[in-house]
């Protein structure tokens, strides 16, 4: 599929789009960076709304490291990011909800999941529920936006796509199926502004009682053989991965062979 991120989808110059961005964590070095999925969401936002109509918000602390990560979003060609200042261990949903209510965007773009903290991917769902907006997951591309609805492509497993018509305002989540984000340029990243906003803080009570540890390696599932005799156990242990019982058509004409293949393809439903 040809996707051209630099071309604006026609006829929606006035759409107000918001993107919620977070500070990611590099999977190898562990350094703060722009979050992968959030950057893709911003990329979709840039293809929809030019400059002034795309509003970014980050709820969280604004330490020097996270500021560097947030500036990476500015380097994508964005004038400013609203930073809703929230201490670590705060529930950020009320703050984001208040920000969105005030801004009143038609479309809210979110990454599917954060890269730090609980990373449960629940924020878009909670926001959509509380605001009463529609919600679509796994967005691949926005095809068109008009008035009070938009046509989007949703990514399905195995590279398939589904077209949806979604009523606005809507919250959408973006994951690896969307177009990769453009590189961040250094100059615009320096020039852009981070507007720090003071917002009421709601502490996250539940999370106080959790214990968080570095991820343990998960035990590998063993192949359990329920055999009663030693011979069966040996056979199971020494078995070669073999289809077994395959049908072999020898000495048939090409037509007959093709028909047999076609029948199997139809049964499996891969032929469209």
């Amino acid at each position: 599929m040809q996707r051209d991120g630099n071309r604006n989808v026609t006829g929606q110059e006035r759409v107000k789009v918001a993107a919620l961005v977070s500070v990611g964590r590099h999977p190898v070095t562990g350094r703060p960076r722009r979050a992968e999925y959030d950057a893709r969401a911003v990329e979709i936002g840039l293809s929809l709304a030019t400059g002034g109509n795309l509003h970014l918000a980050h709820a969280g602390e604004c330490s020097p490291e996270s500021e560097a990560a947030l500036r990476a979003y500015l380097g994508m060609g964005i004038a400013g990011v609203d930073v809703l200042q929230q201490p670590a261990g705060a529930d950020i949903v009320p703050a984001l909800e208040a920000w969105l209510r005030e801004l009143g965007p038609r479309l809210v773009l979110c990454g599917a999941r954060g890269e730090t903290g609980e990373a449960s991917g629940l924020v878009p769902f909670l926001l959509a529920e509380r605001l009463g907006w529609s919600l679509v997951c796994g967005l691949a591309a926005v095809e068109s936006v008009d008035g009070d609805s938009m046509i989007v492509l949703q990514a399905l497993p195995r590279g398939q796509r589904r077209r949806l018509k979604v009523r606005l305002p809507a919250v959408v989540t973006v994951d690896a199926a969307a177009q990769p984000a453009r590189q961040s340029a250094f100059g615009p990243a320096r020039r852009g502004g981070l507007q720090r906003l003071d917002t009421p803080v709601t502490p996250d009570g539940d999370a106080q009682s959790w214990t968080t540890a570095p991820a343990r390696k998960r035990p590998k599932r063993l192949k359990i053989v329920k055999a009663t005799s030693a011979r069966d156990r040996f056979k199971a242990a020494a078995a070669k991965a073999e289809g077994g019982g395959g049908q072999v058509l020898t000495g048939v004409s090409a037509q007959a062979g093709a028909e047999a293949i076609l029948k199997l393809l139809r049964e499996e439903g891969v032929l469209r």
């Binding site: 599929m1 964590r25 999941r113 954060g114 903290g117 609980e118 990373a119 449960s120 629940l122 769902f125 529920e129 529609s134 919600l135 679509v136 997951c137 492509l153 949703q154 399905l156 497993p157 195995r158 590279g159 398939q160 796509r161 589904r162 077209r163 949806l164 009523r167 009682s209 959790w210 214990t211 968080t212 570095p214 991820a215 343990r216 998960r218 359990i224 009663t228 005799s229 011979r231 991965a241 073999e242 289809g243 395959g246 049908q247 072999v248 058509l249 020898t250 048939v252 090409a254 037509q255 062979g257 093709a258 028909e259 047999a260 293949i261 076609l262 199997l264 393809l265 499996e268 032929l271």
Partner: protein
């Protein structure tokens, strides 16, 4: 048949003594017409007659197949098979103390491996409470084609079928789950944390009910659950909440018991969901743009392809993603990123059609995950034919041409009919 072995020492003795005048008659009585290959000796030791086992091979030499497939003594092998097939306990729960609800993805109407793991986890939660026996309630959407739900550990099934729940209808499904919540008040809701399946529906339900779910859970023990946080970098351990979204292999699937899997009527009056999302259907995707690793249907070319134009035409007519063996790539007929196998891409296709590929181990490694393999090859003895579910022994160009003709013919017919 009576399973108690009654021994007659005299006939056994005659059976062992080949020189006894009644020997043949006794053998015939013991093992039908053929002499017995195996019997219980006087000291309780199994005795075998090597002359009675096996069969005469093509060269007139006796061959003995020790895999057990061809023993003369069919009765004994039947008994052994009965013992080998593990018997599952039948379990019926009349009045459950509580429910554990599982919303399975059921792609294509069948339980996925992930669904079975989550059902195993639900079974664990339903059985561990000493105060009362819980039941596993499966909530399924769409037509179910699974006939062994009970073997997966399901006690009750609520299925929502109908046009309303077809396609992408998360809002409708959510109201259905709300109905189940009101009617049965499950103690736990379990979802497979799989994208576009349970992951989405589970989070929607959690937001609707105002419950905080545990996501990416991979272990539940002692009333606590452990899930991955921070994109897999941390483990978060907390008290087990009501709604749990579990990863694959979170528990062992049920293997020792069979449950009733009774279907119960879905909640009668569901409120009409606000329809904010409309499914406009699947979009035709150019198969050559799909990454090889996630393609569903791959037509793969090897050294046995003579007519490359015909191969590419077949791929486009069948709507298959193209793959290749290393030889085809090295010879410059296919690009490197199309190579399947150990040094290429490990593919997960549902159907893999291998044309003129011999099935070297490096290639077979790459197609381990494929469900159905079809081979077109001129050599009936090659490894790909052994691996294949369907093998056609014929020339590749002819079969591909015939395939193209058939599919084109069908398409033309449909166009004429329309």
């Amino acid at each position: 048949m009576n399973d108690i072995i009654r021994r007659d020492p005299r006939t056994e003795w005659i059976a062992r003594n080949r020189l006894h005048p009644e020997h043949d008659a006794v053998l015939a009585r013991m093992g039908g017409s053929t002499p017995a290959a195996k019997w219980m000796g006087p000291n309780g030791i199994i005795r075998r007659n090597p002359h009675a086992v096996g069969f005469i091979g093509p060269n007139g030499v006796r061959r003995i197949d020790r895999s057990g497939a061809q023993t003369a003594n069919a009765g004994a092998s039947a008994r052994r098979e009965a013992a080998a097939a593990p018997t599952r306990r039948q379990i019926r729960i009349e009045t459950p103390a509580f429910y554990v609800a599982v919303v399975a993805d059921m792609p294509g109407g069948r339980l996925s491996a992930h669904d079975r793991d989550v059902l195993g986890l639900a079974r664990q939660l339903a059985d561990e409470d000493s105060a009362g026996q819980g039941a596993v309630l499966l909530v399924s959407f769409g037509e179910s084609r699974e006939d062994a739900l009970g073997d997966a550990g399901v006690d009750r099934v609520v299925s929502f079928a109908g046009e309303r729940f077809e396609g992408y209808a998360p809002e409708q499904r959510l109201t259905a789950l709300g109905g189940v919540e009101r009617q049965h008040e499950p103690r736990h809701w379990l979802f497979p944390d799989s994208s576009l399946g349970g992951a989405e529906l589970g989070r929607r339900l959690a937001a609707r009910l105002g419950e905080r779910p545990a996501t990416q859970v991979w272990q539940i023990a002692n009333g606590e659950c452990t899930g991955r946080g921070a994109a897999g970098a941390t483990d978060v351990t907390r008290r087990l909440p009501r709604i749990v979204l579990a990863l694959p292999e979170c528990a062992e699937p049920v293997s020792e018991s069979t449950h009733a899997a009774e279907s119960i009527a879905p909640p009668a009056a569901l409120p009409q969901a606000l329809r904010r999302i409309e499914d406009l259907g699947a979009v035709a995707v150019d198969p050559s743009s799909v990454a090889l690793a996630e393609a569903e249907f791959i037509l793969s070319a090897g050294n046995g392809i003579r007519d490359w134009g015909g191969f590419h035409r077949a791929a486009s007519v069948l709507g298959a993603t193209e793959g290749a063996s290393r030889v085809a790539v090295d010879n410059g007929f296919m690009p490197r990123h199309r190579q399947v196998g150990a040094t290429g891409t490990w593919v997960t296709a549902r159907v893999y059609l291998a044309v003129g590929i011999s099935g070297a181990i490096q290639h077979l490694q790459g197609i381990q995950q494929c469900d159905k393999v079809i081979a077109i090859n001129t050599d009936p003895g090659c490894d790909m034919v052994k691996r294949a579910d369907l093998a056609v022994i014929a020339d590749s160009s002819e079969v591909l041409a015939a395939l193209v003709e058939l599919v084109d013919g069908v398409k033309k017919e449909q166009r004429n009919a329309a």
